[in-house]
């Protein structure tokens, strides 16, 4: 068990900077998740921590020891790969014991540890099978088993659930969290799935284009995103955005949404007259009250909850080019969504009243996209 530190770490491929000025401290026993869209550098950062990629500058410490120039085998880490990377010519038992064998452990101890890990992961009946004779979920557990028998200082996991089907993914997600809590080993987990990040992590590192955007707990990132990117990336469905001017009339600070006033915190009074981007999460929109009126363009019923779609007023949309999300996360810039749990039978085309509570409105600088407190 150990702390992990990245100090001014950078990684360049020729003139392309994949990771820039990466600084991070992970506490002993913490479950840290790197999350971000494809190409944001999260896997590169993990591979640098594992020693599978060299750093261009900066240093990495595990348990206080500088490991920047050490090979992967000397860093006392274990890694679970996205495609499991099980040795196909070895049995499950040999796969799990391989790391210990390489470190010169006696056969009896290897066997004892493998049996113990197999019991935890319910792999005992499969110990003498080859990986090809296992299901995807079982292979995934063997990959985890290979990591835990080593009792390393840190677990590194590179999108280990991405090859599982949705149901198994949810189950395995909770199994990994329970296992990590039980073993108490510092863990770094990479995913592009923000739901995984929010549900598993003690600490989330949101990345974009090789730069850390924000570090914090799930609640911190959800409640107080530091910029437009984090606000849009964290949360599902994502935060709604619209542009408008901050106005101050007779001490009342507000913006407008389709002509109607939306009250804003008094702290924004000093910015009156300036344009800004406003954000409100779908679950924070209150339906059936307030002075904002809109026509529902689509009603999606998910059983207990409903997702209501409505249009952003003309002239108040935020283009995707401004939004800085990657193509996969492309969103409908002209539409907003509300997430509602109530008994009202909403209809497509219905005109409804709604309210954006003042305390739930997020405000971002139109130039820098940084959150305005």
């Amino acid at each position: 068990m150990a702390t992990i530190e990245f100090n001014q770490v950078g990684k360049s491929y020729g003139s392309v900077e994949a990771i820039k000025d990466f600084n991070l401290f992970i506490e002993d026993g913490e479950f840290c998740v790197f999350v971000g869209p494809s190409g944001c550098g999260k896997s590169t950062a993990l591979k640098m921590l594992a020693g599978l990629e060299e750093t261009t500058n900066g240093s990495i410490r595990i348990g206080g020891k500088d490991v920047t120039d050490l090979g992967p085998g000397k860093r006392d880490i274990a890694m679970v790969f996205q495609n499991y990377a099980l040795y196909p010519h070895y049995s499950v038992r040999k796969n799990m014991g391989f790391g210990l064998k390489m470190r010169g452990y006696p056969a009896a101890e290897i066997n004892e540890r493998v049996e113990e890990a197999a019991k935890i992961l319910e792999l005992t009946p499969y110990l003498d099978r080859r990986p090809r004779a296992l299901s995807g979920g079982q292979r995934q557990r063997v990959a985890l088993g290979r990591a835990i028998v080593r009792e390393p200082a840190a677990f590194l996991m590179d999108e280990p659930l991405s090859n599982l089907d949705a149901k198994l993914r949810v189950h395995t997600r909770s199994e990994i969290v329970k296992l990590q809590r039980r073993l108490g080993v510092t863990s770094v987990y990479v995913t592009h799935d923000q739901v995984e990040a929010l549900t598993m992590a003690d600490k989330i590192v949101v990345m974009k284009l090789g730069v850390i955007q924000q570090v914090g707990s799930a609640d911190e990132l959800f409640e107080n995103p530091c910029n437009l990117f984090v606000a849009g990336f964290i949360g599902s469905p994502g935060m709604n955005f619209f542009r408008g001017a901050i106005q101050n009339t007779d001490g009342r600070v507000f913006t407008t949404f389709g002509g109607a006033q939306v009250p804003l915190p008094d702290s924004l009074a000093a910015r009156a007259g300036k344009e800004a981007i406003f954000g409100i999460r779908p679950e924070h929109i209150v339906m059936g009250q307030g002075n904002l009126q809109t026509e529902l363009s689509l009603v999606e019923s998910l059983g207990t909850e409903k997702i209501l779609h409505f249009q952003v007023p003309a002239g108040q949309t935020i283009d995707n080019s401004e939004f800085e999300m990657d193509d996969e996360e492309d969103r409908d810039a002209e539409s907003m969504r509300a997430r509602i749990i109530d008994d009202h039978k909403y209809q497509n085309g219905e005109t409804v009243n709604m309210d954006f509570p003042k305390s739930k409105i997020h405000v971002f600088d139109i130039e820098t996209h940084a959150a305005i407190k």
């Binding site: 594992a50 020693g51 599978l52 090979g71 992967p72 085998g73 880490i77 274990a78 890694m79 790969f81 996205q82 495609n83 499991y84 990377a85 099980l86 040795y87 196909p88 010519h89 391989f98 790391g99 390489m102 470190r103 080859r130 990986p131 090809r132 004779a133 296992l134 995807g136 292979r139 290979r146 080593r150 090859n163």
Partner: protein
């Protein structure tokens, strides 16, 4: 539906049987010629089974010709060429497959063009080089020439195989404490057994059946003749004992069959199955 299935299966078996018959007929004819009495060799209509198999033809071959010397020379050449080409092509193919370096792709294509040159085209430069190096009249001349011709192709065969093995397997081995070389020997090569077996077989068969290089580089020294050179010497100016020629050919084929049967078990694909999702 059932009728079309029957006809589908029937035409499949008919095609397979016809192909096997065409491919195996020369082998059958070789055995028949070796075992038939001389009087039956030119009989018309031909006999498709010898009236009295002449098993003595094999003892006659071994007693009257240095077949054992030819066999040993061919074996030395084939085994050494196989070892050299396997060693060089494993390292070269691994480098081409794994290391991202400028010009790697064009280097790979350039290597392959070497394979496209016919042996007859490069035999003269080979001869000049070997004569300068004092290798004419040595088995090494045949070994080097054969290895030079075989390595480009085996490198490409193995590169293709290594390309299919995910990088993560080596990375997992490195994290588990293997050295980079250790990860090749413990993980990559065992998984590549089918590719290595196919490469070995190709190398063995090509060098075992060499005639051109042996005929050019070692023909002047009887003790260095290979099987194919020896067999060609069995053809007389006026009379050719076809029983002996075919018996020698038959015995020359046997090692190839043995090597194939030995390597066949490794040539099943899908050894890497199960390593991934």
């Amino acid at each position: 539906m059932k009728l079309s299935k029957f006809f589908g299966r029937f035409s499949l078996y008919a095609t397979v049987i016809t192909l096997c018959a065409v491919l195996l007929f020369p082998v059958y004819w070789m055995i028949l010629t070796a075992l038939s009495p001389a009087s039956e060799l030119r009989a018309y209509p031909p006999n498709f089974l010898p009236s009295a198999p002449q098993w003595s033809v094999f003892t006659e071959l071994l007693a009257n010709h240095p077949f054992d010397v030819w066999f040993l020379n061919s074996l030395k050449i084939a085994v050494v060429v196989m070892i050299i080409s396997l060693t060089v092509s494993v390292l070269a193919a691994y480098a081409l497959s794994r290391f991202r370096m400028r010009g790697a792709q064009s280097m790979g294509l350039f290597i392959l063009t070497a394979k496209m040159l016919p042996g007859t085209l490069i035999i003269i430069p080979f001869f000049v080089i070997f004569r300068s190096a004092g290798l004419i009249g040595s088995l090494w001349s045949v070994i080097i020439a054969q290895a030079t011709m075989i390595i480009p192709f085996t490198t490409w065969m193995l590169k293709g195989y290594f390309d299919t093995i995910p990088n993560e397997l080596e990375q997992a081995a490195l994290v588990d404490g293997c050295s980079p070389i250790g990860s090749i020997f413990r993980i990559i090569l065992p998984i590549s057994a089918p590719g290595l077996a196919a490469t070995s077989l190709y190398s063995f068969v090509i060098s075992w059946s060499d005639f051109l290089f042996a005929r050019t580089f070692v023909v002047t020294s009887d003790s260095l003749w290979t099987l194919n050179l020896g067999i060609s010497s069995l053809k007389g100016e006026f009379v050719t004992d076809w029983n002996i020629v075919m018996a020698a050919s038959l015995m020359t084929s046997i090692p190839i069959i043995i090597v194939f049967l030995f390597l066949e078990r490794y040539m099943v694909g899908g050894l890497a199955a199960g390593s991934e999702k």
